[in-house]
């Protein structure tokens, strides 16, 4: 009996959502809430309207009359742009410990041709838990090797990967050779390995640059083919590097290739090189600021305050989150940035406007401005603070998402079993 009830409930819910989606062909106006634009600005008690998936109104007052508009009362609520999580492998990885559920790392060190969107599982059980925390877009990144592969920007909702992709093949990811203590290598071995890796990268980029100059090569090399976009500006190069010397050597190396636009990812030591990074106009994607300092002699709160230090230096900073299921905590990573220097709006920029800018999708998303996608979230409280983050609605391009997930279902099921209040 219980099972039937639950099934019935689910069906009803699905119907409701379907009807809702149709309704949105007309205008929706969210009124009365605090609108956090994602660009640093806030509109108190504002109006946000959208139709056909685009924002047509975002203001503190309403001027025109909108017939048949669906009104969402957001008094005392907060409206934010959909959150963008960079540097994840959401959708590629279901269960960390079960190999069969992992599609994150291809064989061989140089794999720019492998594309994350191909394996992006829109039916993953993980994604709904991320979506319900307000994350509407993820940059899905292949892992491992020297050149791990090509990422795409995926929506956290979609029938299949074609449907879910927001920007296809946005960038190539490279793991820069550097000295690291966790490898437990002898110093000499480490240096030798680094030399080898560096030479491999160097050779490969020479090849790739030359290959790019030839419109139609005699023999097609899929790896080199995948690199073309880097030289013509359609793809970014994401350089995963943490150490100061790694950052310097990467920046120096890519000066040889002025058309290649690089982004630093991870970049734990970036706080030591603010001027260099700023001068070269390189954006930084910090990954998991909820982490331990790199070294015993670092300030205990260094990872927490790095976003502030970089932003103060005028660097475009995004906060990303490595992993899959863990990504749902991205917003709280940004919140920690606030405890250590950022303003709340600056912290929000690190997970909305700035990722959009860095990945080149800021013309259509990342902030709540007219003409952009109606990708947004409504929360009853501050989303950067777990204590008050209760996300009530999520829209991607005007479509409201189903925020239910397996975890919530289980919560309901067992609350009912014990007859406790949810």
């Amino acid at each position: 009996m219980k099972t039937i009830q639950i099934k019935l409930f689910s069906i009803c819910y699905t119907l409701f959502i379907a009807l809702n989606l149709q309704a949105q062909q007309t205008m929706v106006i969210i009124q009365g809430g605090t609108i956090h634009l994602g660009n640093g600005k806030v509109i108190e008690n504002g109006y946000l309207g959208f139709a056909d998936g685009k924002i047509i109104l975002c203001d503190s007052q309403i001027t025109a009359m909108y017939k048949n508009a669906h009104i969402i009362n957001a008094t005392s609520k907060h409206i934010y742009p959909g959150i963008i999580c960079m540097n994840t492998y959401v959708g590629l990885n279901e269960i960390d410990a079960v190999r069969a559920t992992k599609d994150i790392e291809e064989v061989g060190g140089v794999n720019p041709n492998v594309r994350s969107l191909i394996a992006y599982n829109t039916d993953s059980k993980v994604t709904p838990t991320i979506k319900s925390n307000g994350i509407t877009m993820v940059q899905v990144v292949p892992q491992g090797g020297l050149i791990s592969g090509t990422s795409s920007i995926m929506k956290t909702e979609g029938w299949n990967w074609e449907d879910a992709v927001y920007k296809m093949d946005d960038g190539v990811h490279i793991n820069w050779p550097e000295l690291v203590s966790w490898r437990n290598e002898k110093m000499e071995d480490m240096k030798q390995r680094m030399d080898k890796e560096f030479n491999a990268i160097s050779d490969f980029f020479e090849q790739a640059e030359q290959y790019n100059k030839i419109e139609k090569t005699e023999v097609v090399n899929v790896r080199l083919e995948a690199m073309r976009g880097l030289f013509v500006g359609t793809k970014k190069l994401y350089v995963h590097v943490n150490s100061a010397k790694g950052i310097i050597s990467a920046i120096q190396f890519f000066k040889k290739y002025p058309t290649v636009k690089i982004v630093l990812v991870g970049a734990a030591d970036s706080y030591k090189l603010k001027e260099l990074i700023k001068e070269n106009n390189i954006p930084v994607v910090l990954s998991n600021i909820h982490r331990l300092p790199q070294r015993a002699n670092e300030d205990a709160d260094q990872p927490y305050k790095t976003p502030f230090e970089l932003m103060q230096a005028g660097i475009t900073v995004a906060i990303g989150h490595a992993g899959s299921w863990e990504s749902r905590n991205l917003l709280f990573n940004a919140g920690t940035g606030v405890a250590y220097g950022l303003s709340k709006e600056q912290a929000l920029m690190c997970i909305t406007q700035n990722p959009a800018k860095i990945m080149g999708i800021d013309k259509t998303c990342g902030t709540l401005e007219t003409g952009k996608d109606a990708t947004l979230i409504i929360s009853s409280g501050d989303v950067l603070d777990m204590k008050s983050s209760v996300i009530e609605h999520v829209f991607i391009a005007g479509e409201e998402l189903d925020l239910n997930n397996q975890q919530k279902e289980l919560y309901k099921k067992f609350s009912k079993k014990y007859q406790i209040k949810e």
């Binding site: 279901e94 269960i95 960390d96 410990a97 079960v98 059980k125 993980v126 000295l179 690291v180 203590s181 966790w182 437990n184 110093m187 480490m190 150490s243 100061a244 010397k245 310097i248 030591d269 030591k272 909820h290 982490r291 331990l292 300092p293 070294r295 015993a296 002699n297 300030d299 205990a300 709160d301 899959s324 299921w325 749902r328 905590n329 709280f332 919140g335 920690t336 606030v338 405890a339 250590y340 950067l384 603070d385 777990m386 204590k387 008050s388 983050s389 209760v390 397996q406 975890q407 919530k408 289980l410 919560y411 067992f414 609350s415 014990y418 406790i420 209040k421 949810e422």
Partner: protein
């Protein structure tokens, strides 16, 4: 040359012949009777006699003193100006001793029992049968190195395994083993390292300790039984009549070894690693004598600032302070001997010995540590370590005071035999000489440089560098008369005259023949004029040695002076009391003597430091029910299904930087848990984060005892790769059986103990008996509902309760059953999807269990998350709507209850421990950070102190880096280095 070689071989063969050996040809018995006269003799480390005579006969000292009569038969050797010392003794070597093992490689497969054939111990790393007297093979190339460093005899033993058998005292002389072994079974050897054993157990420090303890008990039991023949256990008992040398891996190892010694009523001699000054007071209080090495760490290359950042402050501080280790120990009157262990050659050893003296160590104590102390430790003080009548003639002859940089060991006598170390070094050639040589009439011949490395030049209208070589007091000099010249003038010269009134003998005149460029010969004469005034070098001893201070713990953010208990009045705080009053606004809290003494408004407390807490939140310190910080050398002894004998308390690591980082996150107490690699894991340690104190002092006094159990994928080894498929259990069915069987055996064991006093003491079962008797409590790692249910059934059937399920991610599915059983739940806020068994883990778990009425805690299992547990608690508000007060209790009062510490910890109540945190904001907010963290009324962290420490360490690093740079410039060898990060453990490690 070949002839000479043959002669030497023949000669030495004859000398080493033994009484029982047949002789090939006529016997060649030599007169071993000498009188060394006019020497400065150290008859012991503190008694120096001048112009003295040492008479030795057949390897023994016949007489020593000033003006003693010399028998006619003795060959007199005048060694005026030279110093004689008792030869050194090294107590920690493996000279000529190793295992001839043909060990199998297990290729990653598990090995549960010893591969060794014969009736030996089940564990390969317990080797009481290793007898150095049997294993010893003389090795001239190694003996030579010891003699060069001044050692006449060494204790040698197997340096492999946890019990290393017995050692032997051997001469460093050449010869057959028969005459070299002075004494067998001199000491026994122990360590925490299993060495070359290929067996899985033990894989951790705590496992090594448990194995050694169990072996002590087994050996005792063995004597009372006749069912089993076990050579190892038989011999282990015999070891106990010997003095044990325990080789530790760091300063804290000394404290660990001491605990074992006290348990078994023995006293080890500790072989340390040279970092003892970092915990000198604690080491002093053990009263254990030490053997310390003087292989000082190499300087680090810090020329590259970014690379230099990868070296920890502890490493570079140790580089600076290691040479002062011996001095620091001597100041504390800790008794120690020196070992050459770790030094690559005699040169390094002697250089570092002098360095230790230069860093403040009294020469007499240094000498004592090489002679009298080691002799006393092994009870051969009547034979060695001094030069007295009747003692062995083991001594060294030096060109001067051995602690002088210029001084050299000329001879080492071992077993009555003389070995030249620096031959023909009695001549001092340095000085200015007037030169008589055609064409160079007005030139001065100048010889500079060190005694052993003379540098020659001719000084006249210009300075000509010449080559100089010497053998058997004959010199060969060659030089270009001027730069343009193509030819070379070559000279053969010999010592015509020397001054034997001094030592070394000053060269007075060289005569010789010069072969000129055209082939003609000319006479060559050089007559001594005067000595060369040496210019003091930069690095000379005259420069005062400045050292930084020892910090506690010896790492970044350690204290020079550990903080003290304060009397504090927190004024006007929002107080999260966790008591009936709930959250108290604008309230004062007073602490004194480590306790909370008053809560109220407008409190007054004499002598209290007032902290204005207006707008701030005062709470209890966070208690992490599930932590793996501050543990060294293995968090899991996962090599067997049941390892209840191991104790995290044996491996607490007080120097872990994560202790400080967690104080900065408001954590004040933690349960340090064994990992989850096996169904019945190890015993926990409950600690307070008393940053700077020793491991024992971190432990919470009088706390109940806990133990880790585990269920599911980890204990089944599901994710350990395809080779880990042989250890029982591999299924959840098997896990149940391991648990049942364990408790059934424990019950039987308890019965046996009651009726038979000779029952084998079993540390593994002891812990299980304690559980049955409610003297030890289970924290069980658990995920899926079936296994949770199972353990409660096992417990019920055995008549005890499970104390806590930790992780318990499917607790929400059986919360009602858990409530009925009365078990607590300590869970993650939102972890899931990292393995199959957590696919139905939900972040609402804590809230459901809480609402069902369980005591629920949120834990970390992770050094990083451990410093943000307040945020993890706040997630339970988001996921499941619990109140702020309830959420906050999940990281304070509730874990205190689970750990049976709530009478002292977990709420703000008069009389409870002053473990308090003042937060800048609501502690559940992402925007909050601790401003002060107090443990026992001692401020171990505050924003202000943190700022001060950062500055202090920034300066200290800067000073040390500048010092390293100048060391490199002064020619010290440097290496590039990345310091190892602290071990960050999780359950699975």
């Amino acid at each position: 040359m070949k002839k000479l070689f043959t002669l030497i071989v023949l000669f030495s063969h004859v000398v080493s012949a033994q009484t029982t050996f047949p002789v090939n040809g006529p016997q060649n018995i030599l007169l071993n009777y000498y009188a060394l006269t006019n020497a400065t003799i150290f008859i012991d480390y503190q008694t120096k006699i001048e112009k003295a005579t040492l008479i030795i006969k057949d390897g023994k000292i016949e007489g020593v003193g000033v003006g003693i009569s010399i028998p006619k038969e003795a060959k007199i050797i005048d060694i005026k100006g030279r110093f004689i010392y008792p030869a050194f003794i090294d107590l920690y070597t493996n000279y000529g001793v190793s295992l001839n093992s043909d060990r199998k490689n297990n290729n990653g497969f598990q090995q549960f029992i010893s591969n060794k054939n014969g009736a030996y111990n089940w564990n390969e790393s317990i080797r009481p049968e290793a007898d150095a007297a049997i294993l010893f093979t003389a090795d001239e190339s190694k003996a030579k190195i010891f003699r060069e460093a001044g050692f006449g005899a060494v204790v040698t033993g197997l340096q492999d395994g946890i019990c290393r058998g017995t050692s032997a005292l051997v001469f460093t002389a050449s010869g057959k083993e028969h005459e070299l072994i002075v004494k067998e079974k001199v000491t026994s050897g122990f360590s925490f390292n299993k060495g070359s054993s290929t067996q899985d157990y033990p894989s951790s420090l705590m496992g090594s300790i448990a194995l050694l303890r169990q072996t002590y008990y087994d050996a005792k039991w063995y004597k009372t039984q006749n069912k089993e023949k076990n050579i190892s256990l038989e011999l282990f008992s015999q070891l106990q009549t010997l003095r044990g040398i325990f080789a530790v891996n760091d300063k804290l190892g000394i404290l660990r070894a001491d605990k074992i010694a006290k348990e078994f009523g023995t006293q080890y001699i500790i072989k340390g690693v040279g970092d003892e000054y970092q915990r000198a007071d604690e080491i002093k209080s053990t009263n254990l004598p030490l053997i310390i090495p003087i292989n000082f760490p190499k300087a680090v290359d810090v020329d590259d600032p970014f690379d230099a950042a990868n070296v920890s402050t502890a490493d570079i501080k140790h580089w600076e302070m290691a040479p002062a280790n011996a001095f620091a120990l001597s100041k504390k009157q800790i008794e120690f001997a020196f070992t050459m262990s770790g030094c690559e050659n005699a040169n390094e050893f002697l250089k570092n010995l002098r360095k230790a003296v230069q860093y403040g160590l009294d020469e007499r104590i240094a000498l004592k540590a090489l002679t009298a102390t080691p002799a006393k430790f092994i009870k051969v003080e009547n034979e060695m370590g001094a030069l007295k009548k009747g003692m062995l003639s083991n001594f060294i002859v030096c060109s001067g005071n051995i602690f002088d940089k210029e001084s050299m060991i000329l001879e080492t006598w071992s077993n009555g035999k003389k070995y030249f170390i620096n031959e023909n070094k009695e001549l001092k050639t340095q000085g200015n000489y007037s030169l008589q040589l055609k064409g160079f009439e007005n030139y001065i011949l100048k010889i500079e440089g060190e005694l052993s490395k003379p540098i020659l030049s001719l000084i006249g209208k210009d300075t000509i560098k010449a080559n100089l070589s010497e053998q058997f007091n004959m010199f060969n000099i060659s030089f270009k008369p001027d730069k343009k010249s193509e030819g070379i003038i070559r000279i053969n010269a010999w010592v015509e005259q020397k001054d034997t009134n001094t030592f070394p003998y000053q060269l007075k005149q060289l005569n010789g023949k010069a072969t000129m460029i055209d082939g003609s010969t000319e006479n060559f004469v050089a007559v001594y004029l005067d000595s060369i005034k040496s210019q003091p070098k930069k690095s000379d001893t005259t420069k005062a040695i400045i050292l930084g201070e020892v910090v506690y713990p010896f790492t970044d953010f350690g204290w020079k002076n550990p903080p003290q208990t304060e009397t504090v009045l927190f004024r006007n705080a929002t107080v999260w009391s966790n008591e009936n009053g709930g959250i108290l606004k604008e309230t004062d809290v007073a602490i004194q003597g480590g306790k909370i003494v008053a809560i109220g408004k407008n409190l007054k407390l004499n002598g209290a430091k007032e902290i204005d807490a207006t707008g701030k939140h005062l709470t209890n310190g966070i208690i992490d029910e599930h932590s793996h910080i501050a543990i060294t050398n293995g968090v899991n002894e996962g090599t067997q299904a049941v390892t209840s004998e191991v104790r995290i308390g044996d491996a607490v690591y007080s120097e872990d930087i994560n202790i400080y980082r967690q104080l900065a996150g408001g954590v004040t107490s933690s349960q340090l848990l064994h990992g989850s690699a096996n169904p019945i894991g190890g015993q926990s340690a409950l600690v307070k984060l008393r940053w700077g104190l020793s491991p024992e002092k971190m432990k919470i006094e009088g706390a109940d005892q806990f133990i880790k159990f585990a269920l599911g994928e980890n204990v089944k080894q599901s994710n350990w790769g395809d080779r880990a498929t042989t250890r029982y259990p591999q299924t959840r069915m098997g896990v149940e059986q391991v648990m049942y069987d364990g408790f059934i055996r424990a019950k039987e064991y308890e019965q046996k103990l009651k009726i038979d006093a000779t029952t084998r003491r079993d540390l593994e079962l002891d812990a299980l008996v304690e559980i049955l008797n409610k003297k030890r409590f289970i924290t069980c790692h658990s995920y899926v509902q079936s296994e949770i249910n199972m353990l409660m059934h096992v417990a019920d059937s055995m008549g005890f309760k499970v104390n806590t399920f930790t992780h318990i991610l499917e607790g929400y599915k059986v919360a009602d059953k858990m409530k009925k059983h009365g078990v607590n739940a300590s869970t993650f806020a939102d972890w899931w999807a990292y393995k199959y068994e957590v696919m139905e883990a939900i972040p609402y778990n804590a809230a459901i269990m809480n609402k069902v009425g369980l005591t629920v805690a949120i834990n970390s299992d992770d050094a990083e998350m451990g410093r943000r547990l307040n945020q993890e608690a706040a997630k339970i508000i988001k996921y499941g709507n619990v109140s702020e007060e309830e959420a906050w209790k999940m990281v304070t009062l509730n874990p205190a209850k689970m750990l049976h510490l709530d009478s002292k910890l977990g709420s703000i109540k008069v009389g409870k421990d002053a473990d308090l945190v003042l937060w800048t904001d609501n502690p559940l907010s992402i925007y909050a950070k601790p401003e002060y963290t107090y443990v026992d009324g001692i401020c171990y962290y505050s924003l202000e102190k943190d700022k001060m420490l950062r500055e202090e360490f920034r300066k200290e690093r800067q000073r040390l880096i500048q010092k390293l740079i100048s060391a490199k410039q002064n020619g010290e060898k440097v290496e590039k280095k990345i310091s190892r990060e602290d071990e960050n453990y999780h359950c699975e490690d």
